[in-house]
C-alpha cells in the first residue's frame, strides 16, 4: 500500500494542481512532494524495527503488493500483466532519491511564472512515472512506467526550455523511443522464452540461468542470452547514457530548466542504470557475462570521453551534462566488472556492484547540487558562459562555497559520497577488468581538471565589474543546495547504513549469478 501511495499520490497531486488556482500551485506541489518524500523515507525506516532488518531481495521484496491486472489467453499466446510493486535494497535508495529530488525541484522552481500549474503538474506526473519504474515488480508494468515518464519530460523541455528547446525535446524523445523499442522486443523475447505465463521479477530472476541456447543469425548463430541482453540493454544504454548514444543528454540538459535538469540527471539516468542491474544483470546473467568485457570498454570510453568533452565546454550546464556521461561510466564499470567471467573472490564482485549502485545514488545528489548551483547563477545573470564571469566569488561567497562543495564531491574528494562510490568501484573492478579500471581511474584526474578550471575562470580572480551587481544566493535558493550537501557529506563520512541497505540485495544477485560467471 505504501508503494502504491508513493507512486500514485504525485500524479493525483498533479491533477489537484491543475484544478486549483495558479497561485496555490507551488504550495500544493511542494506540500505533496514533501509528503511523498517523507513516505518514501519510511520505506527505509519502516524496515529498521528489527534488530537485523530485512531490506528484501528480488526474490523476497518488501512492501510487496501483487494483483492480476490483464490476463489474456489466445491459444498458446498468453499475455499476463500483474500490478506488482515491491522494493528492495536496489530500489529503496532510488525511490528516496526520486522523492527527494522532486521535492527540491519544486523548491528550486519557485521562480517559474510561465504556466506554473501545468509545470508543477508535469513535475509531479514525472515523479509518478519514475517511481513506478523503480517500484514495478512486473516486467510489463515496468515498461509501462518507463514510457509514461517520457510525456512529462518531453513537455517540460519543449515548453519551459531554452532557445533550442524543440530540437532538444525531439532528440530526447526519438532517442528514447528507438531505444525503448528494442527493450520492448527484448521484454517479449524473454517473456516468451521463459514460459510466457509470468512476467514477475521473481520469475525471471529464478529462471534467468535457464536462458541459454543459440539463435540463427545470418548463417551463423549467436547466443540467446547475448541477444536478449542486448535488446533489453538498448533502451537502458540510451537512458544511462552510454557512448555513442549519449548526444541527446547535453542538448536536453542545456535546454531544460534547472529543476528539470536536476531530475533528468538525478533520477532519469538512474532508470537506465537500474534497468541494467535489475533486468539485464539479474535476469540474463549469461548475456551479461558475455557482454561484460565490451561493456567495460564502453565504460572507460564513457568516463574519458565525457570528461574530455566537459573540458571543452563553455556552457556550465553542458559541462555538467557531459560530466554525467563521465560519471555514469563508473556505474557501467562496476556492473561490467561484477558480471565479467573469472574465478575469484566474490567479495570483489560485490564491491564493484555496490560501488556502482552507490554511484547511482551519489551521482543523483551531486549532479543535482551542481545543476541547482548553476541554476541559481543563471537566474540572476541569464548566462551560463564560464568565461564571461570572473571573480564573482567575491559577490557570491555562499554560492561559491556550495558550488565548490558540489565540485569537490563530484571529483571524488574523501568525506563526500562520490569518493566512497568510486573507491569501492575501483577496488572491486580491478580484480576482473584491470585495464579498463586503470583507464577509468584517469577520469578522476580529468574531472578535477574541468571542474576546478571552471571554478577558477568564473569565481576566482579579480571581479569582472560587469557583474558587480550580482547578489548572493538567498535562503530559498540555498536550501536545495544545503539539503543535498548534508546528504552527500553524511553518506561520505558514514556510508554504512546505506551500504547495509544495498548489501543483501546485491549479495543475493551475485550469489545467484555465480554458477554462470564463476566465483
Amino acid at each position: 500500500m505504501l508503494l502504491t501511495l508513493i507512486v500514485f499520490v504525485p500524479a493525483l497531486a498533479g491533477v489537484i494542481v491543475l484544478a486549483s488556482p495558479a497561485r496555490a500551485a507551488k504550495w500544493i506541489a511542494g506540500g505533496f512532494s514533501l509528503a511523498v518524500f517523507l513516505a518514501s523515507m519510511w520505506l527505509y525506516f519502516g524496515l529498521l524495527g528489527d534488530s537485523s532488518p530485512n531490506f528484501g531481495t528480488v526474490m523476497d521484496p518488501q512492501w510487496y503488493i501483487n494483483a492480476t491486472w490483464i490476463d489474456v489467453a489466445i491459444n498458446s499466446f498468453h499475455f499476463k500483466v500483474n500490478y506488482a510493486l515491491g522494493a528492495d535494497g536496489l530500489s529503496i535508495p532510488m525511490l528516496i532519491l526520486n522523492a527527494l529530488l522532486t521535492f527540491l525541484a519544486v523548491i528550486g522552481s519557485w521562480h517559474i511564472e510561465k504556466r506554473v500549474k501545468l509545470y508543477m503538474a508535469m513535475l509531479l506526473i514525472l515523479e509518478t512515472g519514475v517511481a513506478g519504474v523503480f517500484a514495478a515488480f512486473d516486467l510489463f508494468l515496468f515498461f509501462l512506467f518507463w514510457e509514461i515518464e517520457l510525456i512529462p519530460m518531453f513537455l517540460l523541455i519543449a515548453i519551459w526550455g531554452g532557445a533550442r528547446r524543440e530540437y532538444a525535446a525531439w532528440k530526447f524523445l526519438i532517442y528514447t523511443l528507438v531505444g525503448s523499442a528494442f527493450t520492448l522486443a527484448g521484454i517479449f523475447l524473454i517473456y516468451f522464452e521463459e514460459g510466457g505465463r509470468d512476467a514477475s521479477f521473481q520469475h525471471f530472476a529464478q529462471n534467468g540461468l535457464n536462458l541459454t541456447g543459440a539463435l540463427p543469425f545470418f548463417g551463423t548463430t549467436v547466443s540467446l542470452g547475448l541477444v536478449t541482453f542486448l535488446l533489453l540493454f538498448s533502451g537502458f544504454a540510451v537512458k544511462i547514457p552510454m557512448w555513442p548514444v549519449h548526444t541527446w543528454l547535453p542538448d536536453a540538459h542545456t535546454e531544460a530548466p534547472t529543476a528539470v535538469s536536476v531530475l533528468l540527471a538525478g533520477v532519469l539516468l538512474k532508470m537506465g542504470a537500474y534497468g541494467l542491474i535489475r533486468i539485464c544483470l539479474g535476469f540474463v546473467p549469461h548475456g551479461a557475462m558475455e557482454f561484460a568485457p565490451v561493456l567495460g570498454i564502453f565504460a572507460a570510453i564513457n568516463v574519458l570521453w565525457g570528461a574530455l568533452a566537459s573540458m571543452a565546454q563553455q556552457d556550465m550546464k553542458k559541462m555538467i551534462a557531459y560530466s554525467s556521461v563521465s560519471h555514469m561510466g563508473y556505474v557501467l564499470l562496476g556492473v561490467a566488472a561484477a558480471s565479467a567471467a573469472g574465478s575469484l573472490n566474490l567479495a570483489f564482485r560485490q564491491a564493484a556492484l555496490t560501488g556502482a549502485t552507490l554511484q547511482m545514488f551519489t551521482h543523483g545528489t551531486i549532479t543535482g547540487m551542481l545543476f541547482f548551483s548553476v541554476g541559481v547563477l543563471y537566474e540572476k545573470a541569464h548566462t551560463r558562459d564560464i568565461d564571461v564571469f570572473g571573480g564573482i566569488g567575491k559577490r557570491m561567497p555562499t554560492l561559491m562555497l556550495l558550488y565548490s562543495v558540489a565540485c569537490f564531491a563530484a571529483l571524488g574528494l574523501p568525506g563526500m559520497s562520490g569518493f566512497v562510490a568510486e573507491y569501492l568501484t575501483f577496488t572491486g573492478s580491478f580484480a576482473t577488468l584491470p585495464v579498463v579500471t586503470i583507464l577509468s581511474v584517469f577520469g578522476v584526474v580529468l574531472t578535477a581538471g574541468y571542474l576546478l578550471w571552471m571554478l577558477r575562470r568564473s569565481f576566482y580572480g579579480p571581479l569582472n565589474m560587469k557583474w558587480s551587481w550580482l547578489t548572493d544566493a538567498n535562503a530559498r535558493e540555498a536550501f536545495p543546495l544545503v539539503a543535498l550537501a548534508v546528504v552527500i557529506i553524511f553518506v561520505g563520512i558514514f556510508p554504512t547504513p546505506m551500504l547495509n541497505l544495498l548489501a543483501p540485495t546485491l549479495s543475493q544477485m551475485i550469489h545467484h549469478m555465480t554458477p554462470v560467471i564463476g566465483g
Binding site: 515548453i159 525531439w170 522486443a185 580491478f430 586503470i438 578535477a448 578550471w453 548572493d472
Partner: protein
C-alpha cells in the same frame, strides 16, 4: 596516563575548532560586521559576507596590487586602515580557539611520544596501538575499516605536525591580522591539520588516502586563499605566482601523481585482499604474490609521493604554491604536507625493502637524488625569497628519498624529515616576518635587515646554518649520514657512486644558495661583521621595516631550538626501528660524525658553499657577473631562470594535447554522431507533416508525435519478433 589509546583526540581537537569557528564565531563575526556597516555606511555593502568589499576592491585594483602578495604585505605595514586594521573580536575569538585546540593537541602528541619512549610494554613497542573507529563495510573477507594505528613513526609525525601547526596558528594571528578572510584562514588551517593527522594516523590505505586527498584540498584552499587577487601585471620580472592559478596547478599536479598511487593501491589490494599496513608490511602476506606486480605497485605508489612531495617531474606546483600566505607555506608546503610522500614510503618501507624488487627503491633513490640537484640549481638564481625556500624544500625532500632508498631502514629519511620540518618552518616563518615588515619578497629590495629585525635575522641564521649542514646543527646530523650512506650504497652496488655524487654536489649548492639568501636579505655588503650582520647602509629597499609583534617572533624563537638541536636525538634510529638499530650515546654520536673521512668531505663542501656565497654576496668581492658575463654562463642562467622550461612544456601539453583531444571529442559528437542522428531524425519527422508544425504547448501535435513513436516501436517489434521466429 594512557595517552596512546586517546590518540584520536589529537585530530578531534582541531576538528572541533574548525566546526566551532565555522558555525560559531564566523557567523557571529559576519553578523557584527553587518550591524557595523549598517550603522556607519548604511549604503552599499549590505551583503555582509566575509570579504569586506572595500578592502578587497583595494586589493584587486591595479594601482595597489602591483604584485600579488606585496599588496598584502603592504596592507599590514604601518597598520593601514584599509582592512579595518585590527582583527574583529569574533574573528580573534575564533583564532584563539584554534590556537588553544592546537596547544592541547600538541600536549597529547608529546604525551604519546613520551609514552613510546618510556614504555616497557613489548607488544606496544613492536606493534603499536590499533584504534578502531568504525567500519564502512565488509564484504566477505574484504574490510573497509576506518581505523588509526599509533606506532613510533606516527608518534614522531604527530609531534612534528601538531608542534609546527601550533606555532603557525599562533604566528598567523599576527601575520593575518585584519585580513578580510581571517576566520576562513583559521578554518582552513584547522582543516589541514585534521587532514594531516588523519594521514599519519591511518592504519590502512583507505584512511591514509582519505587524509592524503584532504590535505590536497586544504592545500588547494590555502594556496588560493587570496582567490580574488589580480594577476601580476606584465613587466615584472619576479614571476610571482597568481593564487587562483597556483591553487589549480597544485591540486591537479598532485592528482596526477595520485592516479599512479591509486593504481598501486588497487594492485596491492587485489594481490593481498587488504589495505591494512600491519598486514601489508608482514612478509607472510606475500608468499603468493607476483614480485613483478609488487614492484610495479610500489613504483606506482611512489608516484603519489612524487606528486605530493614535489619530486621531478611533478615538482612544478610547489614553487607556485608560494602564492599562499606565508604561514601556509611554512606549515603545508615545507614542514608537513610535502613530507607526506616521504612518510608514505617510510610507512611502507618493509614492502619496498624486503618484499618488492630492488628496482622500486632504486627508482625512489634516483628520482630523489636527481630532484635534489635539479631543484638546488634552480634555487641558485631566484630573487624571490620564498622561491629560494620552495626550491630548497624540493631539494631537501629529494634528500629524504635518497635516505630511504640507501638506508638499511627508514630512520635516515625520517630523521631528515624530522629536523627539516623545524628549520624549514623557521625559514619560512622568518621570511614571512621579512615580507610582513617590508611588503615585498624581492631580495633585491632587502639587505642589512638584521639591523632592523634582529630576532628574525638571528633565528633565520640558525636555520640557514642547520640546512647548510654546518657542524653541530640539526641538519648536519640528519643530512650527512644520508650522504655517507649514499657512498656506502655506491660501494655495495658495483661502484656506482651516482647518488653520492648527486647528494654531495647538492650539499655544496645548498650551502651556497641559502647563504646567498641570508646575505641578500639580512646582511651583505656594507653590513657589520663582514656582511654577516645588518646595517642601515646595506638596506636597498624603500619601505621602512617594522619589527614583528610577539605572536610572530615568539614562534621563531621557539622553533630555533629544535632547528639547532633536534639532531642531538641520538637514539632516533634506535627508537624508530624498535630497537633493531643499536642505541648510541651523544658523545659517541658526535665523535663518530668526525671519525669518518666522508663526513669531513661533507663539512668542507658545506663550508666551501658558505664561503663562495660570502665572497659573492657577503662582501661582494666576487661579483656574480664573473659567472654570467660569458655566453655559456648567460645561457645557463637563462635556463635556470626559466626553470628548465618545465612549466612551458606542461603548458604546451595541456593546451595542445589535452584540450586538443577535448575539442576532438566535441567535434566527433557534433558532426559524426549527431550527423547520423539528425539525418535519421529528419527522416522520421518527414513521415508526418503534422509533427513538423508543432509549436510548444500544441498538445495535439505532441499526442500525434507520441502515437507515431509508439507505431515505430510496434513496427520494430514485429520486425524483431519476425526475425527471431518466435
Amino acid at each position: 596516563m594512557d595517552f596512546v589509546s586517546y590518540a584520536w583526540v589529537i585530530p578531534a581537537l582541531p576538528l572541533a575548532a574548525m566546526i566551532l569557528i565555522f558555525f560559531g564565531t564566523r557567523p557571529l563575526e559576519m553578523l557584527a560586521r553587518r550591524r557595523a556597516s549598517g550603522e556607519t555606511a548604511g549604503a552599499g555593502h549590505s551583503a555582509g559576507h566575509d570579504h569586506d568589499a572595500s578592502a578587497t576592491d583595494a586589493h584587486a585594483s591595479p594601482a595597489v596590487s602591483a604584485q600579488g602578495e606585496d599588496t598584502h604585505g603592504a596592507s599590514h605595514s604601518g597598520g593601514h586602515s584599509e582592512n579595518g586594521g585590527a582583527t574583529p573580536f569574533w574573528a580573534m575569538a575564533g583564532s584563539v580557539i584554534g590556537v588553544v585546540a592546537m596547544v592541547l593537541a600538541f600536549f597529547v602528541a608529546v604525551g604519546v611520544l613520551v609514552e613510546f619512549l618510556t614504555t616497557k610494554d613489548n607488544n606496544l613497542i613492536q606493534h603499536g596501538q590499533y584504534i578502531f573507529l568504525f567500519d564502512w563495510f565488509r564484504f566477505g573477507n574484504l574490510d573497509y575499516t576506518i581505523a588509526f594505528r599509533v606506532d613510533q613513526l606516527t608518534a614522531v609525525m604527530l609531534v612534528v605536525v601538531t608542534g609546527v601547526s601550533m606555532l603557525v596558528h599562533l604566528y598567523s594571528i599576527g601575520y593575518m591580522e585584519g585580513d578580510p578572510g581571517y576566520s576562513r584562514f583559521f578554518i582552513e588551517l584547522a582543516l589541514f591539520t585534521v587532514a594531516m593527522l588523519i594521514l599519519v594516523l591511518g592504519a590502512n590505505f583507505l584512511v591514509l588516502f582519505i587524509g592524503w586527498e584532504l590535505v590536497g584540498l586544504s592545500s588547494y584552499l590555502l594556496v588560493g586563499f587570496w582567490f580574488d587577487a589580480a594577476p601580476e601585471p606584465p613587466g615584472s620580472d619576479l614571476d610571482l605566482p597568481y593564487p587562483p592559478a597556483a591553487a589549480l596547478k597544485a591540486f591537479l599536479t598532485t592528482r596526477l601523481g595520485d592516479f599512479g598511487f591509486m593504481i598501486g593501491i588497487l594492485i596491492l589490494f587485489f594481490s593481498t585482499g587488504t589495505f591494512d599496513f600491519g598486514a601489508l608490511n608482514s612478509a607472510a602476506t606475500y608468499t603468493h604474490v607476483n614480485q613483478v606486480a609488487l614492484t610495479a605497485a610500489m613504483i606506482l605508489v611512489f608516484c603519489g609521493a612524487v606528486g605530493k612531495s614535489a619530486q621531478f617531474p611533478l615538482h612544478v606546483w610547489l614553487p607556485d604554491a608560494m602564492a599562499g600566505p606565508t604561514p601556509v607555506s611554512a606549515l603545508i608546503h615545507a614542514a608537513t604536507m610535502v613530507a607526506a610522500g616521504v612518510y608514505l614510503v617510510a610507512r611502507l618501507f618493509p614492502l619496498y625493502h624486503f618484499a618488492a624488487g630492488p628496482q622500486s627503491l632504486e627508482v625512489v633513490g634516483y628520482v630523489g637524488g636527481f630532484t635534489a640537484l635539479f631543484a638546488a640549481t634552480i634555487a641558485l638564481v631566484q630573487n624571490d625569497i620564498k622561491k629560494v625556500l620552495a626550491y630548497s624544500t624540493i631539494s631537501q625532500l629529494g634528500y629524504m628519498f635518497v635516505g630511504l632508498a640507501v638506508g638499511p631502514n627508514n630512520a635516515l629519511g625520517i630523521f631528515h624529515l624530522f629536523t627539516h620540518a623545524f628549520f624549514k618552518a623557521l625559514l619560512f616563518l622568518g621570511s614571512g616576518a621579512v615580507i610582513h615588515a617590508l611588503g615585498t619578497q624581492d631580495m633585491r629590495k632587502m639587505g642589512g635587515l638584521a639591523r632592523y629585525i634582529p630576532i628574525t635575522a638571528a633565528t633565520f641564521l640558525v636555520a640557514t646554518l642547520s640546512i647548510s649542514g654546518f657542524p653541530f646543527f640539526a641538519g648536519f646530523f640528519s643530512k650527512d649520514p644520508i650522504i655517507g650512506q649514499a657512498f656506502d650504497y655506491g660501494t655495495t652496488h658495483g661502484g656506482n657512486y651516482t647518488l653520492y655524487g648527486l647528494t654531495i654536489v647538492t650539499a655544496f649548492l645548498t650551502a651556497f644558495y641559502m647563504f646567498r639568501a641570508y646575505f641578500l636579505t639580512f646582511g651583505g655588503r656594507y653590513g657589520q661583521i663582514a656582511g654577516f650582520w645588518g646595517a642601515e647602509r646595506a638596506y636597498r629597499g624603500e619601505a621602512h621595516p617594522h619589527p614583528p609583534s610577539w605572536v610572530m617572533w615568539l614562534p621563531l624563537v621557539i622553533l630555533a631550538f629544535p632547528a639547532a638541536l633536534a639532531g642531538y636525538w641520538s637514539s632516533f634510529a634506535n627508537f624508530l626501528t624498535k630497537g633493531a638499530t643499536p642505541a648510541v650515546n651523544i658523545s659517541d654520536y658526535i665523535n663518530s660524525a668526525f671519525s669518518d673521512k666522508l663526513t669531513l668531505i661533507g663539512i668542507v663542501v658545506a663550508l666551501a658553499g658558505i664561503a663562495l656565497a660570502w665572497l659573492m654576496y657577503g662582501v661582494q668581492a666576487l661579483p656574480a657577473k664573473v659567472f654570467t658575463g660569458n655566453p655559456i654562463g648567460k645561457g645557463i642562467h637563462a635556463l635556470l631562470m626559466h626553470k628548465y622550461y618545465m612549466d612551458d612544456l606542461y603548458r604546451l601539453i595541456i593546451k595542445y594535447v589535452v584540450l586538443g583531444l577535448a575539442h576532438l571529442t566535441v567535434l566527433f559528437d557534433r558532426y559524426i554522431i549527431d550527423g547520423i542522428v539528425n539525418g535519421s531524425g529528419m527522416a522520421v519527422r518527414g513521415l508526418g507533416a503534422a509533427t513538423r508544425r508543432t509549436e510548444s504547448g500544441n498538445t495535439q501535435g505532441y499526442g500525434a508525435a507520441i502515437f507515431g513513436g509508439a507505431l515505430i516501436i510496434l513496427l520494430l517489434l514485429f520486425f524483431a519478433v519476425g526475425v527471431l521466429k518466435l
